[in-house]
């Protein structure tokens, strides 16, 4: 079992290393010379050459890659081409604001959708199931910006309970941001929950048809006990992966919603750095997102292993 955990963690590191190479290569492929972009078109060739040396652009690509990775491991992602500040500090500032949204989203989406999925699964093909399935179908059929726009219309315009846009910059305190967090979190939770509800419903139906659930029923256990003690632990197992993937999806999913609400989070930084071709910032965001993705998958795999004794002996899982 220990060797399995070790192998899984090693694989995660391998993936991360490979994604860092891909990210670096992809960003290098962006057209336009960074030095010319920073200095403008009228810069003298001498100035451009000097800046290229200063930015290390005259080094070969693989050397720059190793420099970048070495810096990243120490938390140094270079300096932003636009603001001139350290990228690490800037990204973590925005990331912290997004984490606030992500935390509330995950809390709402996971608890809400598991409960709804279980209800739909237990009342299969009756009205609660039809209602929940229809709503989740609609939830997965509308893009985030539509959910966000409708929420603004309902809870900022019609009922002025929450602010429609955030007026603070990235340095805002948690207290200042807190009133503005709920609508973006709700929008993301609705989109995210749709998938988890469907997955939970399917696996609850699968498990409830199993023989050991029938046995537990025949033993005369109450329905509540059958569901909570016998069915749920194995029903939630396949749901773990969907949850992990959705949490990883949040890293990119926040981009649209944060722009609707003008929320100073990682998604807004992502969009503006792409618009400004702020390469160090793009690289750092991509790497951080890759870390989130790999960690979520790793956590789901390890949790699934902890819950499922069968997986502990098998060589590898997918």
């Amino acid at each position: 079992m220990l060797s399995f955990v070790a192998r899984r963690i090693a694989a995660a590191f391998g993936t991360l290393l490979l994604s860092s190479v891909l990210v670096f290569l992809a960003v290098q492929a962006l057209p336009g010379d960074v030095a010319t972009q920073v200095l403008g078109k009228d810069a003298t060739p001498d100035a451009v050459a000097a800046l290229r040396t200063q930015l290390g652009l005259d080094q070969p690509a693989w050397e720059r890659y190793f420099d970048w990775v070495r810096g990243a491991l120490h938390g140094d992602f270079g300096t932003s081409l636009v603001s001139g500040k350290a990228v690490g500090g800037e990204v973590s500032l925005y990331l912290g604001n997004s984490a606030l949204i992500a935390l509330i989203t995950v809390l709402f989406a996971v608890t809400g959708s598991i409960v709804l999925g279980i209800v739909a699964g237990l009342y299969r093909d009756r009205w609660p199931d039809h209602l929940i399935s229809t709503v989740s179908l609609v939830g997965m059929s509308v893009p985030e910006f539509v959910v966000a726009t409708v929420l603004v219309l309902c809870f900022s315009v019609a009922l002025p309970w929450f602010p429609a846009v955030v007026l603070y910059g990235p340095e805002a305190s948690v207290g200042q941001l807190l009133p503005a967090v709920w609508l973006p979190a709700l929008a993301l939770a609705i989109v995210m929950a749709a998938y988890i509800v469907r997955m939970t419903r399917t696996s609850v139906i699968d498990v409830m048809a199993g023989e050991y659930v029938t046995t537990a029923r025949l033993k005369g256990l109450s329905t509540w006990r059958v569901v909570t003690r016998h069915a749920l632990p194995s029903a939630l197992l396949p749901t773990l992966h969907v949850i992990a993937l959705n949490v990883a999806w949040l890293a990119g999913g926040v981009a649209v919603v944060e722009n609707v609400f003008n929320y100073p989070g990682i998604g807004k930084l992502m969009l503006s750095s792409v618009q400004n071709r702020d390469l160090p910032v793009i690289q750092a965001i991509a790497l951080v997102s890759a870390v989130v993705y790999v960690c979520c998958n790793l956590a789901a795999d390890l949790a699934a292993m902890a819950l499922n004794p069968k997986l502990r002996t098998r060589g590898r899982t997918r």
Binding site: L16, L30, V138, P143, F145, V146, T149, V274
Partner: protein
Amino acid sequence: MTALTLAPVAGRAWRTLRTSRTAVIGLAIVAVHVLIALLAPVLTSYDPIANDSSEALLGPSWSHWEGTDQYGRDVLARVLYGGRYALGVSVTATLLTVALGTVVGCAAALRGGWFDDVLGRVLDAILSVPSVLALLVIVTALGTGPSVIVLAIAVVYVPQVVRVVRGAALAVVPADYVTAARARGEGTWAILRREILPNITDVVCVEFAMRASWVVLLISSLSFLGFGADPPTPDWGLMVAENRTAITVVPMASLAPIIALATLVVGLNLAADGLSKAWGVDRIREGN
């Protein structure tokens, strides 16, 4: 795909449609959208990109059923024509994505060994970068335009299709007829086309419908962010972005494209649900 493989698929699809109400409703909704997009010039006499500042921001009336936007353009005309961009780009992108993903996924299942291992690692690495960020970088690098967006969608979604198809093909590869074809000395490509593909058409079709619904959503999000369709192109995501600020004045200008977008995706999702249920493809698990 050759006629040889298509004929039984068509027959099977017809039988499925007679049994699955969900699939019929879904495909009917999509068909209505296709018809509307094709017949847009017949259905409305307005030009979707003609500005008329004297008619700006009007509510619904007899001459403009869904009102006008800030430039005085007829909202209904823009919604009707908007389907052309949404359907055209997403169908092309989905076709390319699913075709590439199917070939690579089958090849990975068939070849196995180091090819499969290396491919799996690379795909995992691509998947770890958020799709929105990857799309934005590609569009920034190559410029906007339908062909770039088709390419970008393919880059982002091919890895996921490969995984699904590889999983389905792995179940077929150990079959005796594949071994027999190998023993006959047939090449990888011939085995792929004649032995594997016909047996995973159901998975590929469900994957197509499901992927199409995601592609429509992603393309509209991209347009909404200002990286997709160039204004004045009539596009639903772009329309929501343009008319959102005036949502309290002319709510219909934002609602109409939202409804069009949502119905198209609901149709695609219903089709994917119905087909997967009728064919016994585990859609939710395939999807992840």
